[in-house]
Symmetry: C2
Subunit: 267 residues, 2 copies
């Protein structure tokens, strides 16, 4: 994050852009700073979203740059809500969302980046990944489907891949980890048992996965250490209003600094 806006000081602290061997997620707060005003922030977010809509239109019109937004986080961390409320606020013609689930048989018969590369953004587009290639060094490691040697090779391949789309297609990559506490996760998973509008998300296996919290955190930490040529942003995500603000503000900041302009009449 650039330092020109003092609102970003917290974000800046949490952004990982250099090799770090000592990051401990449990030492990073999952909540907004105490002094942070909820209503004030919501107003700011609304204003940012308005500007984002215009910036995205410009991105689309100019068709020079593209943006890839990678969203990772534990079950219940609010990925879907973030997409709906922040990314879904722009013209869907220029914003595409790809949700990565367990790979299909056809996907498994290719290298792990094959299904990812197909969906990188064309010039002018914003592409959102709801989960991503990072699952191949997260859930797969937690369940020991992927050994450490393979994981290391995958990390290198991921770094090469991100370099490829950055260098060769003006793709700006933003990587967000939605950071919630295990307590908040439990609360949200249980809500799915009660709220009719959330029941469709209920999956009893999520409770089994939740028991693997610590090992997931370790794998995330190793991921941040090894795949940070493109920096990660750790987004405190226990409060949706704060999470949405952080992501919207960062996307806004990136788009704002592209120095884009509407092309004139075609000759």
């Amino acid at each position: 994050m650039t330092g020109h806006n003092s609102n970003f000081f917290i974000l800046q602290n949490y952004q990982i852009s250099k090799p770090m061997s000592s990051i401990e997620l449990k030492k990073i707060s999952t909540r907004a700073p105490k002094e942070w005003d909820k209503e004030e922030t919501k107003k700011k977010t609304a204003k940012i979203l308005e500007e984002l809509d215009e910036l995205q239109n410009l991105l689309f019109a100019e068709s020079k740059h593209s943006v890839l937004v990678v969203i990772q986080g534990m079950d219940g961390s609010g990925k879907d809500g973030l997409i709906r409320n922040v990314l879904g606020n722009m013209n869907p013609q220029g914003v595409m969302v790809k949700s990565y689930k367990a790979p299909t048989a056809e996907e498994l018969s290719h290298d792990f980046l094959w299904r990812i590369h197909q969906h990188v953004p064309a010039k002018g587009m914003i592409q959102v990944f709801n989960r991503s290639h990072y699952e191949d060094i997260l859930v797969t490691r937690v369940h020991k489907w992927c050994d450490d040697t393979t994981a290391k090779k995958r990390m290198k391949a991921i770094n090469d891949f991100e370099e490829l789309i950055q260098e060769h297609n003006h793709t700006h990559i933003l990587k967000f980890y939605l950071h919630i506490s295990p307590e908040e996760q439990q609360e949200r998973l249980h809500e799915r048992l009660k709220d009719p509008a959330k029941m469709w998300k209920y999956n009893e296996k999520d409770f089994e996965e939740a028991k693997l919290w610590d090992i997931y955190m370790q794998m995330y930490e190793e991921c941040f250490e090894n795949c940070n040529k493109v920096p990660w942003t750790i987004v405190p995500a226990d409060q949706n209003w704060y999470k949405e603000y952080i992501v919207a503000a960062q996307l806004h900041d990136v788009l704002k600094h592209l120095e884009m302009q509407y092309p004139g009449l075609k000759k």
Copy 2:
């Protein structure tokens, strides 16, 4: 090429598997060695093709490995004929051919490897590229659409990409450069003006491209120097019977050494 078959001594000399800064294509013969017997070679090729058909079936059945055959060469070097006579001899269910032409608008709005990655072989498959990602450091450089800095970055990206599919999907990559002389090229291009079965291939622009022979050779030489983690084979290609033998034999050699076996009954 492994050294277990003395037939391959010529091939071996021409295979580039280490950084070489001194390769000069014009010093490499485009013809079979004088003592090489045409009829004998054709018989050998026929036998190899029979075995290839069986080996490909095994590759498909086992679905553990995959093979990518990259074919490059100047206009008239015999890429189409090679595909028809050697690769086309196997079960088309397990052999796919992708011909790369000038990129479409959609392809140009992505990184140059985007359209390539989509067509890498699934496990069990043989994929043939008729022209390939290498055009992005060949024709593009000859015509100055791609500067040297970009070319260097593309070479790195190509090496990373080939490593990706090798390491992460058991893909065996064979890269063939069909090496013809400029005289042979002229003869073949002129044939297209006369032979009704070849007229469809005639393109007057090919004669313009042919004038750029020397700069093409230089770009090929730089390509071989910089993108050889996966070795290239320079195939003397003025005589089709020799070219077909070399490629068939090398593909056979690779498949033979995969130690494949038919899976038993599924449990």
